[in-house]
């Protein structure tokens, strides 16, 4: 039987404010335990939370980019539950009247649509976007030493989180992966979050169910007869990497199908992804947790984000809208138009904001030196997507850690365009630049790699090569065209690749004709 997975994702991203959501504690990562805490975020009696304006700004910026409707009025709520990572015994979150609702994110798919079986573009609905505070961190082991108690660090408590809830419109683990990738890319372009899954600044939970493919009539009849048999969802937690997201969803989908196929029932529950064992497991301790008894947070007054007769507040949202940065999809389109990049190249260089910045920086540096945009734009894209990213990816380095800076890459391409070095030599120079951080010009001078363009000198070398390779010359004369390649190779070897290839070809052919 065929089943279609139905997935909704709940993403939490940590907003990159300097201070926490409701107090002035720092949000800095990696400080000693419990050094960024205060009476407010540890829930001491008599304290009052005060909302961080920047966090609201970031949240609204994101909501607008996700095509959501921002609320006219938004309120905070207490979500009540007991857990040692939550000092107040409630989390300040939003329930009724979130900041924004009802948007969508258009996901771009992988180039290899054949494998993914997914349409190239798809809109995934965004149900809501709201602000809440993070909880603390629990430690169950010190190093490899398992503790028989737990330790609590409240540094993270109260750090602003943006919760983004998708509609259940994702239909495969791959699509979930693209959704999260695209969302992450947008959040980075919006400059609201670092989205570092390793540091926990981007987290993702999923709701998963499976339904029989509508085309399967037989099964439909079965479902109609047995009512609630299909479509019960489970909540999957702890998918803390892109790999985990895909694996956990695949596992859970298969698990549910197996349960249904063997005549069982899906139990609505929370399940935890165990990456080591590659399975999801029921979290029995969460049985009671779903009754959070939300109620409006009495310590915080409502947010009025836009009303006709209050210009000041309306300006707040309008201002954010006006200053919305360029988003990845827009930037990609612009790169295709402005730099005449292929869809593929534009997709690769805009996949990360910092990479797109790197690309544009390099273009600008070259333009300064008087090169035509159309000529260099594509060359730069090639060098970045093949050589530079190849190196960086192999070393798991980010573009900002590239030892070759945009002006240096521009310098290298300038030397190629001017004919100072050949494309082949350029690769050697690039290697050297990457390893030593030296500038292209300096490497070329030091190593004497300047391209040989003196026709007389090339002719002399060619004459020598022809004398040394009489057999090959005879073969060529006998009609074996491929022999020419061997002769060119010999010339290049003699000049350590410095000879201008066009000139070598030209002179070589002339000499062969006349000898």
């Amino acid at each position: 039987m065929n089943y279609q997975p139905v997935i909704g994702l709940e993403v939490h991203c940590q907003l990159k404010t300097k201070s926490k959501l409701f107090c002035a504690c720092s949000t800095e990562f990696g400080l000693p335990a419990n050094s960024n805490i205060c009476p407010v975020c540890t829930g001491q009696p008599g304290v009052l939370p005060v909302l961080n304006k920047k966090a609201v700004e970031y949240a609204i910026r994101t909501a607008i980019a996700l095509n959501c409707k921002t609320a006219q009025q938004s309120i905070f709520a207490r979500k009540n539950y007991f857990y040692p990572d939550l000092p107040k015994n409630y989390q300040i979150s939003q329930y009724e009247m979130p900041l924004a609702e009802d948007g969508y994110l258009e996901i771009l798919n992988a180039e290899n649509a054949e494998i993914s079986r997914i349409p190239r573009k798809k809109r995934i609905g965004i149900q809501r976007v709201h602000l809440e505070e993070d909880a603390g961190k629990l430690l169950h082991a010190v190093g490899s030493q398992e503790l028989d108690y737990s330790l609590v660090d409240f540094n993270r408590t109260g750090i602003p989180l943006l919760e983004i809830v998708s509609a259940p419109e994702i239909n495969s683990p791959e699509e979930a992966y693209f959704y999260l990738q695209t969302l992450k890319m947008n959040l980075q372009y919006l400059d609201v979050s670092d989205c570092d899954m390793e540091k926990g600044s981007l987290r993702c939970d999923g709701n998963v169910s499976v339904v029989a493919e509508p085309s399967n009539l037989e099964l439909e009849r079965k479902v109609a007869g047995s009512g609630k048999k299909l479509g019960v969802k489970t909540e999957i937690k702890n998918m803390n990497s892109f790999k985990a997201l895909k694996e956990a969803l695949s596992y859970e989908i298969n698990r549910q199908i197996e349960v249904l196929e063997s005549g069982g029932k899906i139990v609505q529950e929370t399940r935890l992804w165990d990456a080591d064992r590659g399975i999801t497991q029921s979290m029995r301790s969460k049985e009671y947790a779903h009754d959070y008894r939300y109620f409006p947070e009495p310590d915080l007054v409502p947010l009025i984000l836009s009303i006709d007769h209050d210009l000041r507040e309306e300006n707040f949202v309008a201002e954010i809208k006006k200053n919305l940065p360029e988003l990845p999809a827009q930037r990609k389109e612009r790169f295709i138009k402005e730099y005449q990049l292929s869809e593929y190249d534009a997709g690769v260089v805009t996949a990360e904001k910092k990479l797109a910045d790197y690309y544009e920086d390099t273009v600008k540096k070259l333009q300064v030196t008087g090169f035509k945009l159309q000529i260099v734009a594509k060359t730069i894209a090639n060098w970045i997507t093949t050589e530079l990213l190849g190196k960086l990816n192999a070393e798991k380095k980010a573009i900002i850690d590239s030892p070759i800076k945009p002006e240096d890459l521009a310098g290298l391409i300038k030397l190629i365009q001017e004919g100072t070095i050949s494309g082949k030599i350029a690769k050697t120079v690039f290697e050297e630049m990457y390893n030593t951080g030296k500038k292209a010009e300096k490497i070329v001078q030091e190593k004497g790699l300047v391209q040989l363009t003196d026709e007389k000198e090339i002719a002399k070398i060619i004459e020598g090569v022809l004398r040394e390779n009489e057999t090959i010359v005879r073969e060529y004369k006998a009609g074996k065209e491929r022999a020419l390649g061997a002769l060119v190779g010999a010339v290049m070897k003699k000049t350590q690749g410095r000879a201008n290839p066009q000139l070598v070809n030209k002179i070589l052919e002339e000499k062969l004709r006349s000898c």
Binding site: T17, K18, S19, C23, A24, C25, S26, P32, A33, N34, S35, N36, I37, C38, P39, T42, Q44, V50, L51, N52, K53, K54, A55, V56, I75, N80, F82, Y83, P84, M97, L138, L139, H140, L147, D148, Y149, S150, L151, V152, D153, F154, L272, M283, S285, Y288, D291, R293, P296, P298, L300, V301, P302, L303, I304, E313
Partner: protein
């Protein structure tokens, strides 16, 4: 709607409260009285009254994103029934 003893026990469990049988009876009747009062309020026509989320007529109270470190973090740690180094120490909780 009427609050039963079972409801009281459920809420008590959520709030981690251990109640005696007498307390359960007492809260059951008190909670029912509160609900009765709410029913009284329901007699009012509130069709055109927007729900109140806060009793003060304030809105958009917020602060700029500035860090002001709290310097007495050790005092907070002092309140902990148990601690270890800079950490609060609790009974083992693990999923």
């Amino acid at each position: 709607m009427k609050i039963t003893k079972k409801d009281v026990e459920y809420v008590a469990k959520l709030a981690r409260l251990a109640l005696t049988e007498e307390e359960k009876e007492k809260f059951c009747s008190q909670l029912n009285q509160i609900l009765l009062y709410m029913e009284k309020l329901n007699e009012l026509e509130t069709k055109d009254v927007p729900p109140t989320s806060h009793v003060l007529a304030l809105k958009n109270v917020w602060r700029e994103d500035e860090v002001k470190p709290f310097t007495h973090t050790k005092e907070i740690l002092k309140n902990a029934p148990e601690k270890e180094g800079n950490y609060f120490k609790v009974k083992k909780v693990i999923e």
